[in-house]
Structure formats: C-alpha cells, structure tokens
C-alpha cells in the first residue's frame, strides 16, 4: 500500500503472494475481479487465483502451452476476506476455508509417508 493510503491495484496487488491467516503461502493474485461499468464507479469484488485466472493474461506460445498444461481451475477469494496489503496480500481466513492450496494438500499426504519428512 502506498504511503498516502491509496491502493495501487496493478502494482500493489496483482501478481502478489497470498498468505492465509495461519501464515501459509497459498497462491498468487492472478487476476482481479471488478464490478461496475464504464463511466460509473468501479469496485473490487474478488481476487481470482489459479491457472484458469492467469491463462487469459498470456499471449503467443505461452498461452498455447498453458492451455494444454494446466486445468481451467479458478478460485474466487472475496475482497472482504483481505486483511492487509503489504509486500504480500494477507487473508483473514485459512487456505482450506477458501479452497486454496488444494494441490499442496493432496501431495502432503503422500509425502508425509516418507520417513523424515
């Protein structure tokens, strides 16, 4: 957040790290959802997370590859869950409550079986 208290969405929020209420890293702000129309007031309604959200921002060969490599999954994090915006965007709920970090959860169980993990 800038010192004047204004929030720069493009540089201060988009592409920043998301950290949940327990300090867990749980994705990036891949896209920002706005509500409103031309000439009227715009309002941030949600942060969008996941390959389905960032795929649309790419062009050329990257877009083609991303379309084949990743699922279209998008997770919507309502803006009112955002507690603070610093170098990372801090959320007021846990990743599991918001449906974030599911892939890490899935792999966690398998890795936990290896001794010493």
């Amino acid at each position: 957040m800038s010192t004047s208290g204004e929030l720069d969405l493009a540089y201060g929020v988009l592409d920043h790290q998301l950290v949940d209420s327990e300090g867990r890293r749980c994705g990036k702000v891949d896209e920002i959802e706005l509500e409103g129309k031309a000439g009227a007031e715009l309002r941030v309604t949600a942060l969008l997370v996941g390959p389905g959200a960032w795929r649309g921002r790419l062009s050329g060969p990257f877009a083609w590859f991303a379309g084949r490599l990743f699922a279209r999954k998008v997770i919507r994090v309502p803006w009112d869950v955002v507690e603070s915006v610093e170098a990372a965007v801090h959320l007021g709920k846990t990743a599991s409550e918001l449906g974030l970090g599911r892939d890490d959860d899935r792999w966690r169980k398998r890795i936990a079986r290896v001794p010493g993990s």
């Binding site: 540089y11 201060g12 592409d15 890293r25 749980c26 994705g27 921002r57 890490d104 890795i111 993990s117």
Partner: protein
C-alpha cells in the same frame, strides 16, 4: 560473543560456498591462457555479487520477498514467465554440470566407473537434503569447501612473479587476442555472478527467518564472505598462471586443476584440492537444486522452504526431487560436465538482467522497504553493475561463437 561467533560461521560458509564448478573451470582456464591478466575481472565480478546479494538479502529480511516473488511483481506475468523459463533452463544446466563434477572428483578419488558414481553422488545429495536442516547443509559444505584454500598455499609455493600478479589487478585489455580475452572476461564475470547465488541467498535469508535485526549479518556475509570467496578465485588463477601457462597445459579436466596443488605440495595437496572441490561442487549442486524449486514455487505462489519440512511444502519438495532426477539424466547421457559448465556460465550471463532488474526495483521501493530502501551507494553500484551486465549479456553469445568457446 555468541553473536560474533555466529557471524564468523556464516562468513566462513559464504567463503566456501562462493566457488562452484564454473569458478573452478573459468579461473583455471583463464590463468592457463592469460596468466594473471584477468585478475581484475574477478574483482569486478565479486563486487557485483556482493552488491546484489546484499540488496536481495536486505529485501528478504525486510519485506520477506525472495527473488522470484519480486520478478513476478515487477516484470508482470508474461515477461516474468520468460525470466522464469530462462532461469530454470540455465539453473538445470548448472545443476547437471555440478553433478557431473561430483562424479568426476569421486572418480579421481576412488577409480570406480563414472556412471555408477553419478548415481552414488545423486543419491547422497538426495539423502543429505532430506535429512539435514537448512543451516547445516550450508555450513557443512561451506566449511569443507574451505579445503580449496590449499590453492592459496600452492600459489605462494609456486613463487609467481608478484609484480606481474599486481599488474593483473589493474583493468586493461589484452591486445594479443582480444576476442578470446573478452570471452574469458565474460565467463569470469558470469561465474562470479552466477544467478543461482542470488536466488539461493535471498530464499536462504527467508529460510533462516531474517528480520531487519539481521541486516548486519547480511552485510557481513555478502561483503566479507563473498569478498574472501573471491580470494579463492585469485588463488586458482594465480596457480594456473604460474604452473600451467609456462608448460602450455590447457586444463580441460578437473584432475588437471588438482595437479596445481599436487605439484607444489605433494599428495596432501592433491587430496585437499579434491576434497575441497567435491564439497564446493556438492554444495553448489544442492544450491542450484533448491534454487530451481524456489523459483518455480515463488513464481506460482506455492508454499516453499526447507524449514517447512518435506510435507509442509509438498510441491516444492517434489520440484527439487524432479530437478535432481533431471540433472542425473542429463549427466548420464555422457555429456562432458566441463563443456556443460562453460555453456551454463555463458547462458547465465544472458539471463542475468532479468534477475537483477527486479531486485534493484524492489530494493528501491520505499512502500516495501521503508527506511531500509537503497541508499546512494547501493544505487550507484546497482546501476553500474546493471550496465556492466547488460553489456556483457549482449556480447556473451557472439564472443562464444567467434572464439569457438575460447579456443581462438
């Protein structure tokens, strides 16, 4: 007192951790080809790695942002992705070169077949990474890597012409074969400023939970640790210049490099040189392996870090395992690790601006850094080195092609 001791240990680890296979190959080859004439380039490169390590360590301590977090924030998704792909390719090449280097040294020590030793080396690395805590990994490899100081003793024993050595520290350009000289200069800069060093350094600062209170340690590690690390590079180059240049030997094998310590110091010199190389290269293999996993996780926002435990950061853990396996496969094809090293160093120079620009921007951002943002000295040095890097990255590949990789 305890604090001073901790700082000293960190510095020692940084000295031992500075040298990797790229430094060994380029410093020895440069010494064997141009004597002491390129020593000033090492000083320039060490200044660059100090400047940018200090900056990215400070950013990590203050805003908790490691390099690829800053890359995505500053360069955006598209350009950031180009930077990520470039970094990952170079990093994997470096990892493979280091793994090959481990096997070559093990072969010199044991005489066992090369491919079996690649497997043994990779398995040993995997176990060490899995079992040892982060701080231990850095220290064990850093400390034993200090055996490379044997080259400093060797350099003195070889009685180089110190007047000539001193002249080597004065910036100049060779008129005899300027292109080959330029190629080695680019390689030495690339080897000193290898990008994985800053990825690893900044993520390591987050791993160790640095806060603004640790900024003193950050400065000491970067300036004294990497500064003295450069001293090992001088020793390698002076040894090669005093021994190989007069004999007309081109050190194309790691065994030849170790001869630089054996000839003046006997068997004990040889063993110290090989053990030092083994741990320096082994430590670098772990650093590059982690760096690849840090970069991907930080770019995509995954949980990461050795401090989280294997299951605490699952996709990060899988990524380093996969990278280690890929490195293994690359070396098993039989590709020459020394040649791979040369390519990885030259290509890393091309990818460097993508890494340095976001660090410089973030370290300057008062909204993230507050009163710890870059001062005038850090910015002057930062911009100076950015210009050096841009010039070097533009000339790296043309020089490589024109000189047939330094063969003239």
């Amino acid at each position: 007192m305890k604090r001073i001791f901790e700082v000293a240990l960190g510095i020692l680890a940084a000295i031992g951790g500075f040298v990797d296979i790229g430094d060994i190959v380029f410093n020895t080859a440069a010494g064997a080809t141009f004597g002491y004439g390129l020593l000033w380039v090492v000083v320039l490169g060490v200044g660059g790695i100090i400047t940018y390590s200090e900056m990215c360590g400070r950013v990590a301590a203050v805003s908790k942002q490691p390099v690829f977090d800053a890359v995505r924030e500053r360069l955006g998704l598209g350009t950031g992705l180009v930077a990520l792909v470039a970094a990952q390719i170079v990093n994997l090449m470096t990892l493979a070169a280091e793994v090959g280097g481990i096997a070559l040294v093990l072969q010199l020590l044991s005489g066992l077949p090369y491919r079996a030793l690649i497997l043994l080396g990779v398995l040993a690395l995997a176990v060490v990474i899995w079992v040892l805590p982060f701080g231990w990994i850095e220290r064990v490899f850093g400390y034993v890597g200090l055996c490379l100081l044997v080259f400093a003793v060797a350099a003195i024993k070889l009685h180089p012409d110190w007047g000539e050595v001193a002249k080597g520290f004065v910036p100049h350009v060779s008129t005899e074969s300027p292109l080959v000289y330029g190629y080695f200069a680019v390689g030495l800069l690339g080897a000193a400023m290898t990008p994985y060093e800053v990825y690893f350094y900044s993520s390591g600062a987050v791993e160790e939970g640095w806060t603004p209170k640790d900024l003193g340690i950050n400065k000491a590690n970067a300036i004294i640790g990497y500064g003295l690390g450069g001293f090992l590079s001088f020793a390698l180059m002076i040894t090669a210049g005093a021994l190989f240049l007069p004999l007309g030997i081109e050190p194309e094998l790691l065994g030849t490099v170790a001869l630089g310590a054996e000839i003046p110091l006997g068997q004990i010199g040889l063993i110290l040189a090989l053990v030092g190389t083994l741990f320096a290269v082994g430590g670098a293999a772990i650093d590059t392996c982690f760096s690849g996993a840090y970069n991907l996780a930080q770019f995509l926002g995954w949980e990461w870090g050795k401090y989280r435990g294997g299951a605490g950061a699952p996709r990060f853990t899988i990524t380093w395992l996969v990278l280690l396996a890929l490195g293994f496969c690359i070396v098993m094809t039989g590709i020459d690790p020394i040649m791979l090293t040369e390519y990885s160093v030259i290509f890393s120079v091309v990818a460097l601006p993508f890494t340095y620009i976001p660090i410089l921007l973030t370290a300057n951002d008062k909204s993230h850094m507050g009163r710890y943002a870059n001062g005038r000295v850090a910015n002057t040095l930062g911009i100076f080195y950015l210009l050096v890097i841009l010039a070097v990255s533009l000339s790296a590949i043309p020089l490589m092609l024109l000189t047939n990789m330094g063969q003239g």
